[in-house]
Amino acid sequence: MSHLHIPDGVLPPLVWIAGLLLALIGVLVSAAFTRGVGPQRIAFQSALGGLMLAVMAIPVPITAFDYCMTLAGPVGILLGPASAFQVSFVVTVILALMGQGGFTVIGLNALVLGIGSMTAAPVYRLLASRMKRPQAVALATAFSQLLSSVLWIAVLALSVKLSPTTAADEEVHHTLRWLQGGALVALLAPLLLVAVAVESLLALGLATFLDRVRPDLLPGGASGAAVPPDESPESRP
């Protein structure tokens, strides 16, 4: 559900301020990891960021509202964790500037998208030795999407918890709160699962194609290099 960007002014300040700080730390740390990368590498990660945005721009009508694919999983696998986080951050900033998701929650949105994307590469690495690479890509993508969704719900739940209760809230019964939570999950769970399925299917097709045409682009491939020649050592064991 990482595609459903959180807007400004809904969540309590404590949550989004913490999100901003964490994301900034993430950017700085990832920048330290990618210090001295070649220009081609920057161009490559920008191309994939552009691709994420372009793909998000294609509406896939599967529910009442349009679900947008993110490609966060495959992009994470192609780039490795550090660059994947940077790409997620840049994509979130541009989306915020386009009115999709707010300015104040850039941090939270980047974290939700970025953490999912970052985990794709290590999970893929674990799986790749045990199965065909396209399937590993699909499974890693499913994992990263699930993680993003869980994070997204966690942010929501935490925010609900942290919101100041007003006098009116006191009157609302405790069980009603639980019912509301239940309704929310019932509403979102099927959407989440469909989203994960769509995204993984797409990742499978994409990886199958790359595996045939440019196996060197997928890590663990023929030449082993996931990136252009002047690639950095970043974040790859």
């Binding site: 081609q40 192609l78 007003t166 929310l184």
Partner: protein
């Protein structure tokens, strides 16, 4: 959204209103402050005025009403989810929860709809690490090339009879299709930086434009700013329970 993206970009680059001439710096500051103020406003009174100001800004920037409406409704879905999880029957709380993101979204639309992206990214990229700052410019440019590529791809799929069949077949074909775009993006990226190099870009992409230069039109931004602050102070009690 495929059109929204290109449309906003188009309006930012080709518009000729006073807002387009005002400096990017003042518009960016105004946007950040207004959103900041809105987010911390607990009563709906000032928020209604903010919204009126935001819509007025967007419309006087000659942004089409449809686009403004879209910007205003986009955040409502999330706000609705939030309200479901926190429903307590208080109308004033609902109003505040709905108004804040809408104000932010419309003000942001006005900002991006009147400011070409290099002006917008120049100050932002300055406070970010080089890799991230450069990516910001390059990613934005890449979006349009890839969008065009996706459009052509969609055309090819349509003309070659691919938009049918089982869900699985369609998924596979989509994956293959996106694969060609990934490859294209990869190859293009390799040449992109070479081109920037050939055309004199050294080390860091500068939005070497006039984003800081104050203009006469910035007076209007100050006026809007005054309206926001005045309403925040004067109407602070309107809507308090």
């Amino acid at each position: 959204m495929i059109n929204t993206f290109a449309q906003i970009d188009q309006y930012a680059s080709a518009g000729h209103t006073a807002w387009h001439r005002a400096s990017a710096l003042s518009k960016l500051l105004f946007t950040l402050v207004t959103i900041g103020v809105a987010v911390f406003t607990p009563t709906w009174g000032p928020l209604v005025v903010f919204l009126a100001v935001a819509v007025l800004l967007a419309l006087t920037a000659r942004l089409p009403f449809k686009l403004v409406l879209l910007a205003a409704t986009t955040p409502l879905f999330f706000a609705a989810l939030w309200l479901v999880s926190r429903w307590n029957g208080r109308l004033d709380e609902i109003a505040v929860t709905a108004l804040r993101p809408v104000v932010a979204s419309v003000v942001a639309l006005w900002l991006v709809g009147t400011t070409p992206y290099p002006d917008l990214f120049a100050p932002i990229s300055r406070v970010l690490p080089r890799v991230v700052g450069d990516s910001l410019f390059l990613t934005y440019r890449a979006v349009f090339v890839l969008l065009q590529r996706l459009e052509r791809l969609w055309r090819a799929l349509f003309l070659r009879g691919a938009l049918g069949g089982s869900l699985r077949r369609r998924g596979e074909r989509m994956g293959e299709a996106v694969g060609t775009v990934v490859l294209h993006g990869f190859e293009r990226s390799q040449r992109l930086y070479q081109v920037m190099h050939l055309r004199g870009h050294s080390g860091r992409i500068c939005g070497c434009r006039h984003w800081r230069d104050l203009r006469a039109e910035d007076v209007w931004v100050v006026v809007a700013f005054a309206a926001v602050l005045a309403s925040r102070i004067l109407l602070r009690e309107v809507g308090r329970p």
